[in-house]
């Protein structure tokens, strides 16, 4: 008797369990999951937390507009804690456990490299919003930040033309992005007739805080009677003491201008910018861009975050563009199926925040305008130069001999990220 009772009870339990699973599955059918893979703790939290917030805002806005394909979007936020191997684990969790339709994430190149095999193996989609060193084109990754030809090269051109710079200091943090970018820039400068002795290259460790010697060296390098400029790929936290030391040693932008590729509104927020007025940055977006789209975006951001003092920056715009591109591609395809979306998204054009349209190229990079801005006392940038049209991102640099002959085209029938035009062979899938 008792066994029967037990059986009935367990049967009942089983039914309840089955019913709950079914209903949760049915409920899950009604949402499309979007993964957000940004560090919320550790060193990179300083930059990446903002990107998580902007993604939540974009998803919320999309849901207010009625969602996507008649379904609501659901954000799945994970914290890879600035730990590069953890990025791969968390990416796997997003794709395998949560089965997200697309992932928006990563900041540092090393974290991107760590998740590439995961996206390749599990066939996911990653939107990567930060300027990077190029030399990569993956089937599963869409690069919405700037490639070197969309940031570094136009910035150097500006200095060559407008400031008539003859001597160059290439200063960077010691890791892959500055090293590759400086390699490209060195080749580019030499192609412009700059001699070896007029180029000084300097690397410093992450978080370097004692800049006295290096700034003194730069000062000495700049007092040779030729106009000198610093091209800075110094990353993150090391910038604040660097700029402070420049100010203290009395180097103003009119003497030796510094053009930076990693300093945006967010970084300047922790800094007294008065001594920095006139130093430059090259980006594809500045908060000071004067367009109605940007005004609306800034207003929405401040309202979402509930803080009037928060600023917007370039990687945020990259997510804005990337997210809208993905939404449009999904609408076009009528499904969130990864392979269909990867095919459909090429050629999709969405408005960017500087008054034009950005389009997804066959090499998975996008077209963007390049803006040069000068730092102002209020921590914003005055745009002093802008490319005439949009610049298409180039995955493989034309200034490195090994890369110049590579092209990337993910359309059928080529479907190759590194096609060698000389040997007419595809060098392998991706990388």
């Amino acid at each position: 008797m008792s066994t029967l009772k037990n059986r009935i009870r367990s049967f009942g339990m089983a039914t309840i369990v089955a019913a709950t699973t079914a209903s949760s599955a049915a409920w899950a059918e009604d949402t499309i999951k979007v993964g957000i893979l940004h560090s919320l703790s550790g060193t990179m939290a300083i930059s990446e937390t903002t990107l998580k917030d902007v993604m939540l805002m974009l998803i919320e806005e999309q849901n207010e507009k009625g969602g996507l394909l008649g379904k609501q979007l659901e954000a799945v936020v994970v914290d890879p804690a600035s730990d590069w191997p953890l990025f791969a684990e968390k990416a796997r969790e997003l794709l395998e456990v949560h089965e997200v339709a697309a992932v928006f994430g990563n900041w540092t190149s090393v974290s991107r490299k760590s998740v590439l095999p995961v996206f390749d193996e599990l066939n996911g989609i990653l939107f990567y919003p930060v300027q990077y060193e190029g030399e990569e084109s993956q089937r599963n990754v869409f690069y919405t930040g700037a490639a070197p030809n969309q940031q570094a090269i136009p910035a150097v051109d500006y200095l060559l033309e407008n400031e008539e710079v003859e001597r160059w200091v290439l200063a960077g943090t010691d890791y892959v992005y500055p090293r590759t970018t400086n390699k490209i820039l060195e080749a580019y400068l030499k192609s412009k007739g700059v001699s070896d002795e007029d180029i000084m290259i300097n690397y410093t460790p992450f978080g370097h805080s004692d800049w006295q010697t290096i700034v003194a060296d730069i000062k000495a390098f700049g007092s040779e009677g030729k106009k000198t400029a610093v091209v800075s790929t110094i990353n993150g936290d090391a910038n604040v003491p660097f700029y402070k030391e420049l100010g203290n040693q009395g180097i103003s932008a009119t003497d030796i201008p510094v053009v930076a590729f990693s300093v945006g509104e967010e970084e300047l927020a922790g800094l007294d910018t008065a001594p920095l007025v006139g130093h430059l940055a090259a980006w594809n977006y500045f908060q000071s861009v004067d367009t109605p789209e940007n005004e609306a975006f800034i207003e929405a951001w401040k309202a979402f975050i509930g803080d009037e003092d928060r600023v917007t920056n370039d990687p945020m715009e990259a997510h804005y563009i990337g997210f809208n591109m993905w939404v449009k591609a999904v609408e076009k395809a009528g499904t969130t199926d990864v392979d269909t979306v990867i095919d459909e998204i090429i050629g999709v054009a969405v408005p960017n925040l500087s008054g034009g349209y950005s389009a997804m190229m066959p090499n998975h990079h996008i077209t963007k305008p390049v803006l040069i801005g000068e730092i102002q006392e209020d921590g914003q940038f005055d745009i002093v130069d802008q490319t005439d049209g949009l610049v298409a991102g180039d995955a493989w640099s034309d200034y490195l001999p090994d890369s110049a002959k590579l092209i990337s085209d993910w359309r059928k029938p080529l479907e190759c990220g590194n096609f060698n035009v000389e040997t007419q062979t595809c060098g392998g899938k991706g990388s």
Binding site: S223, D237, E267, A269, G270, D272
Partner: protein, 533 residues
């Protein structure tokens, strides 16, 4: 547009002399029109008047405080008050009206225009009644070597009474002569003057001449450069020593609190860096309050932050000792893990309260800029940090050697049981010692907020260095910490030019590892009974 500029060039011919009011104001208003690349010609047009009344407007343009009214494109000097702008007449500086941010727009400039403006303002202020302004003008011309200022300079030299200003003007004239098409002998004389009196600033000017067509000029320039550089060699080593002392004082500040908690008490305190961070955030909060309520006191903000930072970090250290560490004495591994956990908790707490981004801690005016001492450049913030580090060191030394608490502390460290049987409350002394070490870390944070990022990660960047200094200097000895910090700082700075910043750090680390193999107790080893304990 073109016709407009052309009209501007004709204007001075119509109105000549000082009565040309309308011409000047129209030229200034022209700045509100056209693109950035048209501005050089507009500034040129203003400077052609030679009218000193235009100087405030040009200065405002250079400093980014020249705005125009969107409605009628009239240009004004603008002063920000809240979210509004007070507009002032560009010539008389009389207040005109107050407008909201959206009704005005800044007249944009770039670096090239700023350079042009500096030169123009220089030649326009040579006749200023204020000797300081005249001196600044002469120095600007010396640096730019502006040929067009030559005439104005010569006129000014004839009437100049002040000896200092006169010397600066003669130097400026020599510099301008170098770029003009003057006779060779005149140029050679100018080279000698610039070389002997110009100091380091003369090097860029002379370098340009080294490749001159005229051999005698090139030779003279080469000779002057060689002389300047010879004099500079000694100064350069002195400068490197100074950089080393300055880096050493930062290390000392970061490590001195640890010298108490780790050195004296033997607690491996991984949360030491977070105490430094708490001090830096205390400074931030103090400055926020001052900015909001008493902006006049901003220069004293660091002095006010010092005792507060000591209390905040000290209280935190006290709580940590009472709550966690006292249960773990004698178990170094567990202490290490527990304090590391505390450090993560503190970091994330700060991140939650203040946000993950950097916070701006301003430099008070007395900590900005640099002093020139012969051929040395001493930046003010570094100088004060060196002084501050030494004061903190001396104060801590006195506390340990001259006060009753210091005596008890030393007694407990040397022989806990004996101290206890002499009636010292050892747990109480432990707690206060830990609080003292943490408090000192807190005031170090006030100083470090001036040169580093104030972010939740601040502490992490100093913790390794701190342990390195304490271990190298000798555990339990304050002098060791001082000598260790200075040695590492200076060694690092002498290595840096040869090995680069990355390799220099690695070399220092390797050196310390080898050194510890030879002398496991560091530079100044404690002798006596404590060693055996």
């Amino acid at each position: 547009m073109k016709r407009f500029i052309a009209a501007l060039f004709i204007l001075p011919m119509l109105f000549s002399g000082a009565g040309a009011d309308d011409g000047l104001i129209e030229r200034i208003d022209a700045l509100a029109t056209g693109k950035l690349k048209d501005r050089a010609a507009q500034i040129e047009a203003i400077s052609e008047t030679g009218d000193a009344r235009a100087v405030p407007a040009l200065q405002a343009l250079r400093d980014g405080s020249l705005y125009f009214r969107k409605s009628d494109k009239k240009v004004f000097l603008a002063e920000k008050s809240g979210s509004d702008f007070v507009l002032k007449d560009p010539l008389t500086a009389a207040e005109v009206e107050t407008l909201s941010k959206s009704a005005v727009r800044k007249v944009k400039v770039n670096n090239r225009l700023r350079r042009q403006l500096t030169a123009v303002i220089g030649s326009m202020t040579l006749e200023s009644p204020d000797p300081g302004t005249r001196l600044a003008a002469a120095r600007t011309i010396f640096k730019t070597g502006d040929v067009s200022a030559l005439e104005a300079l010569e006129a000014a030299i004839r009437t100049e009474q002040n000896a200092d200003v006169l010397a600066a003007m003669e130097l400026a004239r020599a510099s301008a002569l170098l770029k003009s098409d003057a006779e060779t002998f005149e140029k050679v004389k100018a080279v000698e003057l610039v070389g002997t009196r110009g100091g380091r600033d003369a090097v860029p000017l002379l370098k340009e001449l080294e490749s001159s067509q005229d051999e005698s000029i090139a030779q003279a320039a080469g000779k002057q450069i060689a002389q300047i550089e010879k004099a500079q060699v000694l100064w350069n080593s002195a400068q490197t020593v100074w950089y080393g002392i300055s880096l050493g004082s930062v290390l000392l500040l970061a490590a001195i609190g640890l010298a108490v908690t780790f050195g004296v008490m033997g607690v491996i305190n991984m949360a030491h860096g977070e105490m430094v961070m708490l001090g830096a955030y205390t400074t931030f909060v103090v400055q926020e309050v001052i900015r909001g309520s008493f902006p006049g006191l901003f220069d004293y903000s660091l002095l006010m932050a010092l005792p507060l930072a000591f209390l905040v970090a000290g209280a935190c250290g006290f709580a940590m000792e009472r709550g966690i560490i006292r249960f773990l004495y004698g178990r170094p591994l567990e202490t290490l893990l527990a304090t590391w956990g505390v450090s993560l908790i503190l970091q994330q707490a700060i991140r939650t309260i203040f946000g993950p981004t950097n916070r701006e801690v301003g430099n008070p005016s007395w900590m900005s800029g640099a002093y020139e001492l012969g051929g040395l450049t001493l930046t003010a913030n570094r100088l004060w940090i060196v002084v501050f580090a030494l004061i903190v060191f001396a104060a801590l030394f006195l506390v340990l050697k001259r006060t009753g608490f210091g005596l008890q502390m030393r007694a407990v460290t040397q022989n806990r049981k004996m101290a206890s049987s002499m009636g010292i409350r050892t747990p109480w002394v432990d707690a206060l010692t830990f609080a003292l070490g943490s408090g000192i870390a807190g005031i170090a944070g006030v100083a470090l907020s001036q040169i580093a990022n104030v972010s939740p990660n601040l502490g992490q960047s100093y913790i390794i260095d701190s342990f390195m200094v304490v271990v190298f200097g000798g555990v339990g000895n304050l002098w060791g910490t001082l000598v260790g910090a200075m040695t590492l700082g200076i060694a690092n700075k002498f290595l840096e030019p040869y090995a680069g910043a990355v390799l220099a750090k690695i070399l220092i680390l390797v050196f310390i590892i080898l050194f510890i193999q030879k002398r496991p107790r560091g530079l100044f080893a404690l002798k006596g009974r404590a060693v055996e304990a």
